[in-house]
Symmetry: C2
Subunit: 264 residues, 2 copies
């Protein structure tokens, strides 16, 4: 098993109830990464379902998760031939931290797309990107788990020069060699720095709701993450991420709504 595999492993206590040991190594500053939590919830949904993949995940982040023991509760709302629907909750010390509706289904790795939209402009080559290290030790946990190489055009905010467009783009893989799968994609869709940083926002931007869709079984290798946004208003911003795999396929799509960060 990879560290990511271990960190997202769930143990069944009884039908619809699982135990997990949340790994603080997937933390970043104030909180454990939401993508990591979605990966844990996705594993539980798939275990409780007749299907192999989390096709749609709509997650609400209610409270910050801490490293250590937590429970995952799966309430199957419908199990059908094509898809299952599950309400999946992460509970720690009696507090509900995340509520997610997860639609399970089974994708065939050999499926050829009937139609795909135009790919976004390609990222610069991996060697032309930057692997910035977060300044504080508290932020390095997550950064030590993922190997991300950022399109330099999208990290101007690091030097006080935000691009003025809500954008973030990077190559992504796990340092532990865990190849892309549906659960690594859950991590990938919430791995980029908030796109609002390039609009001059500062600090951590708490995700309130994030929905992502698994569109294909990803190929091994680097994933390309393309993050963008459409509107920042009244303290709220949206962030869309498309994930393309090494075979040039659109494998995941996400949108989240988040609060603009407060400067620290």
């Amino acid at each position: 098993m990879s560290r990511f595999g271990d960190a997202t492993a769930i143990t069944k206590i009884e039908d619809g109830r699982y135990e997990v040991e949340l790994d603080g190594a997937y933390g970043f500053a104030e909180a454990i990464n939401g993508g990591y939590l979605m990966a844990v919830l996705g594993r539980a949904a798939v275990d409780a379902s007749a299907h192999a993949h989390p096709l749609a995940t709509a997650a609400n982040f209610l409270r910050v998760a801490k490293p250590g023991r937590a429970e995952v509760l799966v309430d199957t709302r419908k199990e059908g031939r094509t898809a299952g629907t599950h309400l999946v909750s992460l509970v720690q010390n009696g507090d509900r931290l995340v509520d997610a509706m997860i639609t399970t289904g089974t994708l065939d790795a050999g499926t050829e797309p009937d139609w795909t939209g135009e790919a976004p402009p390609p990222l610069p080559a991996v060697e032309d990107c930057t692997a910035f290290q977060p300044p504080s030790a508290a932020e390095r946990g997550f950064a030590d788990q993922v190997d991300m190489r950022f399109d330099k055009a999208t990290v101007g905010w690091l030097d006080g020069k935000p691009s003025g467009r809500p954008e973030a783009r990077a190559w992504f893989r796990l340092h532990d060699g865990h190849e892309p799968d549906a659960f690594a994609l859950a991590l990938a869709v919430d791995a980029l720095p908030p796109v609002a940083l390039n609009l001059g926002a500062k600090g951590w931007a708490p995700t309130v709701e994030l929905t992502w869709h698994l569109r294909a079984v990803p190929a091994p290798g680097w994933l390309a993450l393309h993050g963008s946004g459409r509107l920042l208003a009244g303290g709220w911003f949206d962030e869309e991420v498309e994930v393309w795999d090494s075979a040039g396929r659109l494998v995941a799509q996400s949108r989240q709504i988040a609060r603009v960060g407060r400067a620290r």
Copy 2:
């Protein structure tokens, strides 16, 4: 009250439990429109919350709703100063039809955007669009409630000439004079014909999961709906809708994942 207002009105039975009379006039062929159902659920969430608007709605469509009495159950998962999170379910004759996670909050109608992305290319003028009528009486229920004027470039599928791109664009308003609000936007984001029709798909395309975000309080007048998609593969397709109001503001964003329709 407008017909839409009446049709989405809820009556509180007790805390977290509401009654609604589903109006078959918002049906289209096999099913009552999902956007109408989301409007009903949004009203219940707001009633149960200290906040005024449904900011994020992630809805899972489990079973087809029939006209007549139904209940809406609201389970408040968290109520915060900025946002509340509610699990809202539509139940009819003992069956759960829709499960939605709804984040409530309050948007200020006077908020100016800090940043907005480029608007999509404008729709043709209303008078240059087409108000097609569905061929069967069963499909006219919904079409009689909404006044939609379609960009002719996106309804080629009606004449057996799909454009080859997953797209649907139209002007939208309610025939009953109900001006745009958060609940009419719930209807709007699920009002377009499936974008997959322009890829040669036929028939009704059941929505499995739809998440939409209210981004601003809409101005009175026509709404412009811009529908597009990114991938059709393995019988699944995504559909994104942006709604822009008459003041030129992005007021709603949605993405749904749906099954390719079966020809009838």
